[in-house]
Amino acid sequence: MERMWAREIFWNVGADKKIIVYCLAVIALGVLVYGIYRRYFLWRKVSQNGEAFAFDSLGKRVWSLIVDGLFQRRLLREYYPGLMHGFVLWGFIILFLGTFTIALQEDITIPLMGISFLKGYFYLFYKLTLNTAGLVAIAGILMALVRRYIIRPDRLSRSAEQGVILIWILIILTTGFMLEGLRIYSLKNKWEVWSIGGWIISQSLTRMNTQDASAIAAHAVLWWVHLVISLGFVAYIPFSRLIHIVTSSANIFINAPVSQAVLSPLHNFEASNSFGVSTVRDFTPRQIFGLDACTQCGRCQDNCPAHISEKALSPKRVIEELKAQWLETGHLMRGGDGSQGERTGGNGLLLEEDVIWACTLCMACAESCPVYISSFEKIMELRRNLVLMKSTFFPEIATFFKDVETFGDTFGRGRAYREDWTMGIDVKRISDGEEADILFWVGCQGTFHDRNNLIAGSLAELFKAAGVDFGILGKDEYCCGDPMRRIGNEYLFHKAARRNIDLLGRLNFKRIVTYCPHCFNTLKNEYPQLGARFEVLHYTELLRDLIKGGSLKITKDMEKSVAYHDPCYLARANDIHGMPREVLRAVPGVKLVEPKHSRRGTFCCGAGGGHMWMREIPGKKINEVRLEEIMNVQPEIITTSCPYCLIMFEDGVRSLGLEGVRCLDIGEIIRDAL
């Protein structure tokens, strides 16, 4: 009896129609391939910045494709949209596999091997699975429609195209169920109860006392309708946002291993005469590809601290605008009038200057993007163009550049004062030819800022107390180059990095420990671009090791609720968020409270991207917005492990007039607990 549990393929349609079906399928596929080919032209040809796609770290790419593409890891950070999309995606995957299985049987296993397997229990399981998938997909689509048009979150548009696609998919799915239902009703097979969707429909038809003949006629018609709209859907993919099926997946593969912590270098200055991006054609194919992978989901915008603080910047709109420019350029290029079609936005720039300068380079957009599009990377390229080619920036930035070049530090204080922070603490100078296990890279903030040099001093004392063999560069220390790089001046970054690498290469030490996360990130991840390779730690790592190893003994406790703010360049850029918490928990009595945005999802303090030295731009102050969020968990102490974050918060506490809360660095907390 079980052997009877199978389905006649092409029932009521006629197996002779198979050829038509395949013809239509070929046409649809043809259109799909053609559409993608045209797109490919745009991906590769619009860019005149030849860099080919790279395919190193293949394992990492495939892994990301599986984890983020198939299993939707980043999307699942938010339950509703994560599940919603997962339902649709997996529903479709399973339905596709179902169709593929049929084709496998009909076109391969039966003709070649005489084997059919869609029967019996397997067939019931198969039908149950497909039906569930279909219902789940419908649920997902309905969730999507509700979300977009009824709940109406800020970050989603409500344009007609979005709605049309959702409805189209819904129709495909429901017609599929209707077909199933009509067939079940006509064939009246009891075992088809496993085809739950179809079963329900056939039950309704029964209740409606539908005529058999009508059912069969309806089925015949609907079958072709369903076929056409399904194949039409496939053909439509490359001409709509549905192309994200291809591009988003591919983008995960292409862009996932690209480290956000590291900006792309400009090698070989002398050979180029153009720097940064001023038209879309200056982007690399990889960067352009990222533009096409965007489905305007808006997570980047929702997580952008500048956007949340009502500044001019929306990472989502950045990608949208650049994408529009790219498409227009591509079409102009294909126009065949020989013009290169260099389109730019108003006043000759691809984006408004306000937008370009509002970014703090915190990387939250790239982190939150489910398909690894980096909005800030594009902004950075535009910024480089403004700085290096057009010399267009706030006058205080010109002063900043000149100060760093003349004096070697971001404060414009000068080499002569580099050792003042040591204030009677006896520290070795590695630059004098002395050797040490660890080079303590203090950084400009720790050296010159009157609040942060207290912390640098505390750290030095901690290291001494723990018996660490360390030394400093003293007067030879020079800015690591990160601020210049992130404001866009690659040239000054290069000069600084080159100088530092040459100096460090001549000295005797095993590891570098930095105070500032920016120095940490640059020395560790960006100096290798210029050929250097140092072992670099952030001081929280060293503290953790010292405490764990017993060299630092915590003797006092601290009965306070403590909120640890994760610095962007530690938590997001370098995935360091567990260690600092470990260090804090080593102090008895510390009650860690977590603000809403923490760990990799941390909310920038606002000082990044050169904003420490820039005037305040219109909008709320990012540090105040973050502070208010932190205060929601009522900490008595706000602690962090970054000099910039610390002074941004102390500033914010003053400007907001907050009482009952203190801002401390982790180093200070440990020092007081010894």
């Binding site: 720097f275 057009k390 003349t406």
Partner: protein
């Protein structure tokens, strides 16, 4: 039109962290080599004129040791067309008069309409070389210019000259002429990277100072009109007056006054606690000393 800009590469002492009292505690770390800031403004002004008037050339000349070349490269990166380095090993050996003589000699037989330079250099605080050159070359000069416009006919310029209290004297001057610029005339541009890279490859003409032709029998420090015989640290400024606290009660104030006042010396300022009358008399003193009211 040809514009000549004179720039000085100076040794700027920004700190005194050395250990030798004979060197006024100036150590090697305390010095940076920079272009005299006002000369940068002069160059920027020349470049702006060049942008407004087609066919303008800007020539930059600097007299100094090897580091003058870095300064000239910086000028080229900003957009100067040509640079000449008058090489002289000694720094500060030539006084203003000899320097001006050398610079004037370097432009003899050159056709130019404008000479621009900073009003004074922040290392020696002279303000002499500009007017000296003008006199030697025989052209009019105006010092302290904060605005410069070439008049329509190209025969003269209109200038605003900065005088005291932010006021301006408006003058017209025929050209060729020499103009020394003061802070506020413009904000110098930051060079673009293509500009920097191009400047690295540009040739800078080098002229040995002994190869300049001088109408004097000899040239050199021996003919200096003035000489700096020593450098010292200035005495700290006297700060009279101090902290006046109006929140004390009358009896406290009386007690303090009888007791001679409570004085804390914090470095250079003296803090005294007193009353409203003291506040007003101190403010009045300060206003008079600053010239707002006559003393």
């Amino acid at each position: 039109m040809k514009i000549i800009v004179f720039v000085k590469a100076i040794k700027y002492v920004y700190a005194q962290t050395g250990t030798d009292p004979k060197a006024n505690f100036i150590g090697p770390d305390d010095i940076v080599r920079i272009i005299n800031p006002l000369d940068e403004l002069a160059l920027e002004e020349a470049l702006r004129i060049k942008e407004r008037q087609a066919g303008t050339d800007v020539l930059v000349i600097s007299l100094g040791d090897g580091s003058a070349e870095d300064g000239l490269r910086k000028c080229l990166s900003m957009g100067a067309d040509e640079a000449i380095h008058i090489y002289d090993e000694g720094y500060g050996e030539l006084d203003a008069w000899m320097t001006a003589t050398a610079l004037a000699s370097s432009i003899r037989n050159r056709d130019f309409k404008l000479i621009l330079c900073g009003r004074r250099a922040i290392d020696d605080n002279g303000g002499l070389v500009g007017p000296y050159i003008a006199e030697i070359v025989g052209i009019p000069h105006v010092s302290g210019v904060v605005k410069l416009e070439i008049d329509g006919g190209g025969e003269g310029v209109l200038v605003h000259r900065a005088v005291e209290r932010g006021n301006r004297e408006v003058m017209e001057c025929t050209i060729p002429g020499l103009f020394t610029v003061e802070k506020g005339i413009n904000v110098p541009r930051y060079p673009t990277l293509p500009g920097i890279l191009r400047a690295q490859k540009q040739a800078i003409q080098r002229v040995e100072i002994k190869d300049l032709k001088f109408p004097l029998k000899s040239f050199g420090p021996a003919l200096n009109l003035t000489e700096t015989i020593s450098l010292s640290n200035p005495k700290p400024k006297k700060r009279s007056g101090g902290l006046v606290d109006a929140t004390l009660s009358a009896s406290d104030r009386l007690r303090l006054m009888m007791g001679g006042g409570d004085t804390e010396t914090k470095g250079e300022s003296t803090l005294v606690e007193g009353d409203t009358d003291k506040v007003l008399s101190e403010i009045e003193r300060v206003l008079r000393e600053s010239g707002i009211f006559p003393e």
